[in-house]
Each structure stands twice: as C-alpha cells, then as structure tokens.
Chain length 441, copies 2
C-alpha cells in the first residue's frame, strides 16, 4: 500500500510500461550517487530518453518544499552557545549524535540532525529513492534573524552563493538536460530593524544568481511581521525580479495554548506551524500588499496553512468591519487565487479543497458577476497553483524503509483528488513548478 | 442576491409554491411577535399546516448556534468594575449605549450590546424574519470563569433554571406543536480549580431540566484545558446524561501574533476563534477522551475551526511520534467522524469539505480496511453531522436591512454544497438537529 502511490503513478503514466521499474528504482537506494556527472536515475526509469518535450516535463516529479542546512550554516549553528544551535551529545545507543535545538523550551531538547541536512548527496539518494527528479532546495528554519544585521547580510550573501553553486555543480536531469536536479530559494537577511537597503542588495544578488528562483521567508519580517510598511520596497523588488516568495513558518503560533501534557512536537508542528503561516498571509492581505503588488508571487507552505478553510469566515469578518473592508480592493476570497500552495497536505480531500478555494477565487473579484458565482468552481482550475513538496528531511520514517511515509502520503493525496484529471495531477507533480519557475517555455 | 438563498430555498421546497412568500415573510419584521401564544410565522409561509410529520420536520429551519446574555447575567456584568463587564457610555450620536468589554486590551473598547442580547422577543423577531423555526440558545462568551467557584456554581444553577423557564414559556412552533421555538444549552460553573463535585451537581441539574439539551463550554476547562484528567468524571456524566457539549471559543489563540496594525476584531474573530477551538479539541483527542467516552457527543463551533483542514497533517505528525500515537486507538482522522459541526462556515466549499472529512472518518478506524479507503468518501454521509447555525446576535448588518448577510451567507452555503442532495441539505437545516437532540423519534 505504501508504495502504490509512488510506483503506481510511474507505471501508469510511463510511455513504455515496464515491470522492472520498481526494482530498478528501489536499487537506486544503494547506489553511490554521482555529484558531478550528468547521469540521473530518470534515464533508467524505463531506459528511454523522452527528450526535452513538454511530455517529458509532465512526467517528472518536482519537489518545491525540501530543506537543507548548508555546511556553512551548520557550522554557524555549531559555533553558537545559545539557541538556535547544534549540540553534540551521546544518544541512548552510546554513539555521538548532533541535535538541533531551536527554542530554549523545546520538548525533548531538539531533534537529531545529520548528513541528510547538509549533504546534497543524501538529498539525491532520497530523491532517487522516491522518483524525485528536481528539487527546489531551501534553507530550513531558523533563518538569520538571530544574527546582527550586518552579520546576517554577509552570511546571506555567502549562503546564496553557496546555494547557486551547489545547484550548478550537481547533476542534470539526464533525459532532459536543460533541467538540473537542483534549484534553490535564496535567503534575505531578515533581522529586526535591518536597513531595507541591505535587503534590497540581497534581492539583487539573488536575482543575479541564475539557479535561485525565489526566497524562503518566515513571518517575522524585520521585527513587526509582514504587514510592516518598511517591507514595501522589498515586495516591489521581489516582484520586479520575478522571484517567488516561499512563505514558511518557524516560530509557530498558539504555543501558550498547547497546555502541559507532553505531546512531543505534535501540537507545534500540526497546529502551530499552519496557524503561523495563516496569520502571516492574512496580515499581508489585510495590509493591501497583494493589491499594491499584483505581480508578487507568494508560495504558501503546507498548502496555505488553514487560510483556505477560513477564507469565507475572513471575508465575512472583513465585510462587517468597514474600516478594514475599505482598505481592500476585493473580497478576501479573491486573494486565495493570487497565491500558490504546496501540496504538503497529506490527504486528497484537503488538497481538493484547496483547489476549490483557488478555483472559486476569481468569482470574488470586485469586478466579477456575483450571479455567476454559485457552482462556478471547477476544481481543475485550482490545481494549476498547487505544487508537490515533501518537507524533507523532516518527518523521517521511524524505521528503516525504502519509502518515506510522509512522501508517499503526499503523492497518494495528489493521485486521489477527485475531480482532478491526470493532466491536473501531472501539473501538481511537475508541470506547475516548471511553468511558475520558468523552466519550460 | 442576498435573499435568494433564504427565500429561494423556501420557494423551491415548499409544497405549494406561492409568489407571496417573500412579501409575507418580509413583513414579519414589523410585527410585534407574541411571546405566549402558539402562533408562529411558520404557519404563514404558505398558508398550509404541514402537520407533525417527518416531512414537516424536514421543512423547518433550526438554529443551533445562537446566543443570549440572560437578564440575570447581564445584570452581573453591569455590576462589575473589571472586565468582563457591561459599561454605559454616550455614543457618537449623543445617545447612551451599553457596551460589553470582554478583555482589557480589546480594540475599540468592546462592542455595543442591546435588547437583542437579552430580550427573547428580539430573538423571535430575528427568527421570524429569517425563517428560523427553532433556536437552541446558549449563553454567549464569556461564561463564568471570572467568578469564584461557589458564586459561579450558584449563578450557573440560576441561569440554567432561567433558560429552562424561558424555553418553556416561549411560543411553540404552531404547525408542529410538539416543538418549541426555544431549547437551550446550559452552563457549567467551569472556574479554575473548582471542585469537580460542583460540576457534577450542575450536570445533574441540567439533565433534570427538560428544555436544556446540552451545555456550552469554552476551552479553558477548570484552568488547564480540556485534556485535564480532573475533567474525566465530567465527560462521563455528560455522556451518561446524553447532553451535547457545544464547544465554543472565547479566549482566542494567537493574539500575540496579530501585530500592531488596527484590524479591528477581524484577526481575533476570523483566526483566533477557530484556532482556539481547533487547539482545544485536538488536545482533547490526544488525551484519549474520545476513546474513553465513546458516547460523548461534542458539537464544534464554526464548523470545527480548522481541524478539518489539519486532520491529515495531525495524523501524520502523530504517526511520527510513537509516544503520542501509542496513546490513541485510531488514526486522528477517525475522530473527525465522532464529532458534530455547526454550519457556520460562510461558504459552500468550506461546508462541503467538512462533510468530506466526516465522510471519510470511518475508513481511518483502526479496524478499517485500508485498501477500501481511496475514493470511499461519500459527501452525503458527512452532512448528517452538520447543523445550521447563525451566531446571532453577533455579526449584525452594518445598515438596517431585512436580512442579515451573515445568516444569508450560511443558508446560501448549505444550498450551494455540491454533492449534497436536497435531503442532505434539509438535514443540515433541521433534521439533524431534531434527531441529535431527540426531538423526533
Ligand atoms: Zn518545511
Ligand atoms: Zn458563537
């Protein structure tokens, strides 16, 4: 069952259905993955070269939510004496392990980290094992706000250069040599009260690095959240440079309400993270950022948190507050269609629902014919703004296994969405990302 | 457009389609509503008496989420010198008005309150104007946790008796005289560290009052949330007494993340309230309460907050934490089917999605055949656990109008759910409530 989604997809969609696919792909797990050759697992899926056609692109699997701690960044964390930091300790088996501790009051003193966080060979093994052709890597939280502004700015510049170089020197996708295995989201030195000019310098740097296709960003901004007027020139510069903003949680929201029971990381991860993303994007919408920057593209982690389920409630609350309503050009539900969403939702009903919310968005434009609204939603429409992701290397399996349940769940969710055509599903798996990041024309 | 949902429904479903319906129902707005006669607007919808049949029951409209501050409670709030309190002040028009201030740091010093909060004649006018036959009234937040335990206990007893009496003396539904216009959710004296015996006494009182069909409850419990072991006997007593727990937010969650911008009440209401409900019910599930009390019935305000959209993510986070997973009998998604949800979601896509999440729940029971899961969801199934509500008298229209937009939106949402039959929709409007609260056999 666990592997049906992953392999079922390949078997079904492959032009040359070959029963060897599963075994061959499984064996990639044990291979040493070359880091500087152009060979890739994709060429051995079926032994055919599909060429650089749209058809080939549609058969790829592209992961837009996958994290790294670059070696340079890990070293910064190791050198620290306060959180966030990486500490080394002896684990229950008597061997040494490194753990990342992000917050002082974290349960079970952080989480184990290892090569899968900083070695892109490990990332490639994971990708090959799960049939992932291309990964858009992003630095995992925390980012740079624990540093002084100038230090953050220098480190961001170095990490962005590292990321670009890592993407360039890694393998290409063999049967589609215009594509690389890696692209990346860069980092802005978002620290409290940093001079916006330094942020703009970093935007320009990222725009100049051809393998960086956007930035990853938390919800804190430069200390006052994403509805801070001081960020206006940053939004303008990001839109101008066609960089996608990958909005990702870090601090969580609601932890004071999580109580005294030991539920491990369940509540902060399952609830606090999506609450944070939802709060951040809502504040950004209420501040009129999407109205003022119509070409700004924002990709929301974890399928938009819970904003989809709250979007009509939000619209109703705004409608009942003329001050807030007067600031916005459209009904709140309209803005749902202005956003992109990863497919990290773990269930087909959840993904289908997000698709509905995107699909209906234009019927809530202030210029739309309200009478045309009911029943206007075509779930296919929304699929164009949803992109496969894994959240690797988080949510590792508890036991050694070929496939990560967290990845399989997300692939099964895509495969299981009712009302999505096979084309829609292929779009979510690869085509949308390639289009949005301008990797196909 | 605004009235299409309400009146369109009546026109469509009414056995004798009459063009006078709209005008007649509109005029109810200007009538003095009798408080002790048995006449009701329902009889003049089409001038026919539908009788006490199931068909009649299915044509009713039942509101299970509608609030009051009983006169006795309003007087308690008026006598207070600290929040929560009702204050009187001169408003912008030079006239005196009362305002309810719940929190010290509330934006725009609270909200105006008036007769619609404490005069059930006003409630009846609202009901008649919107075609609502039966209301399950509940005390609006805040409840009693600002009082000393013994005071809370006495006041709860008095308010419960008031509620029961108000329901008994109010009109009956004329064409279905076994039904009253009002039923109610009672109050437990939930204060920090109150002796559980006092809570159990109140449960017994409520169980003995025939018009009280459940209780309304916040998320604080007796100071440590709903996963507090000290509440175990209370859950057991509520289940034993067949009382429904209406779980409703009050404190909100996440307000420290709402930033400095003046967004009125939008963020606490649109996000903070559903975050609170979601956190509370998640903690309750993680504590095993639903496993230990299989007959406990919980009704979630605002369509379950955002738990539906997070249920697969929650399941995944639990799966990756063996300690938490080991405490639960089922996958987290199973418990979504153990709950009831109001239909206060303001959009058809949102409601349809909640229905999906309920529908699929049983396929996640630990005993279920996992292979049967994909595509198993029949959206109709879930509709049986969703119940119409208005959240009156909150979200009043900004201008004088016949119909409240907030109510119309929720009726249009029900009417617009794709995949629900007319029977499903009638169930959400009335049949489910009558069944769940044992008002039809
Ligand atoms: Zn992530
Ligand atoms: Zn309410």
């Amino acid at each position: 069952m666990a592997e049906e989604g992953v392999d079922g997809r390949r078997r079904k969609d492959c032009a040359c259905v070959c029963p060897l696919t599963i075994a061959k792909r499984g064996s990639a797990n044990d291979e040493t993955v070359p880091t500087s050759s152009t060979s890739s697992h994709t060429s051995d899926v079926c032994g055919t070269n599909l060429g650089r056609t749209i058809m080939a692109a549609r058969r790829l699997l592209v992961d837009i939510h996958t994290h790294v701690y670059l070696p340079r960044y890990a070293n910064v964390l190791r050198a620290r004496r306060t959180v966030p930091r990486i500490v080394e300790r002896t684990n229950a088996n008597g061997s040494r392990e490194e753990r990342l501790v992000i917050f002082e009051n974290e349960p079970i003193s952080g989480r184990p980290v290892g090569p899968q966080y900083w070695d892109l060979n490990e990332k490639l093994k994971f990708m090959n094992n799960h049939g992932i052709d291309v990964s858009f890597i992003s630095s995992a939280n925390p980012w740079l706000d624990f540093l002084a502004p100038n230090d953050a700015h220098s480190l961001a510049n170095e990490l962005n250069a590292d990321l670009d170089s890592a993407c360039r020197t890694a393998p290409k996708v063999a049967d589609n040599s215009s594509l690389q295995r890696f692209y990346a989201f860069g980092l802005l030195p978002l620290c409290d009260d940093i001079a916006p000019d330094l942020l703009l310098e970093s935007v320009q740097q990222i725009a100049s690095l051809s393998n960086l296709k956007g930035i990853i960003m938390g919800s804190r901004g430069i200390g006052r959240g994403l509805d801070d007027e001081r960020l206006e020139p940053v939004w303008a510069a990001l839109a101008e440079a066609h960089l996608v903003v990958f909005l990702h949680p870090h601090y969580g929201v609601g932890s004071t309400a999580f109580g005294e029971k030991d539920n491990g990381h369940v509540l902060p991860l399952a609830l606090g993270f999506p609450f944070e993303t939802t709060t951040a994007i809502t504040r950004l919408i209420l501040a009129g950022v999407l109205d003022r920057h119509p070409s700004l593209r924002i990709l929301l982690a974890h399928s938009g948190g819970v904003l989809p389920q709250l979007s009509s409630r939000l619209a109703s609350c705004i409608d009942h507050d003329p001050v807030v309503a007067g600031r916005l050009q459209h009904d709140a539900r309209y803005y749902m269609g202005r956003l992109f969403y990863d497919a990290v939702a773990y269930g087909p009903e959840e993904l289908g629902f997000v698709s509905d919310i995107i699909s209906r968005a234009d019927t809530y434009a202030s210029s739309a014919d309200v009478g045309a609204r009911v029943g206007a939603a075509d779930r296919s429409l929304g699929s164009k703004q949803i992109l496969f992701g894994t959240d690797h290397p988080f949510f590792p399996p508890l036991q050694a296994t070929d496939k990560w349940r967290s990845v399989v769940d997300n692939l099964e969710a895509i495969a299981g969405v009712q009302g999505w055509s096979e084309d829609d599903k292929e779009g979510v798996r690869s085509g949308n990302a390639l289009r949005i990041f301008s990797l196909i024309t």
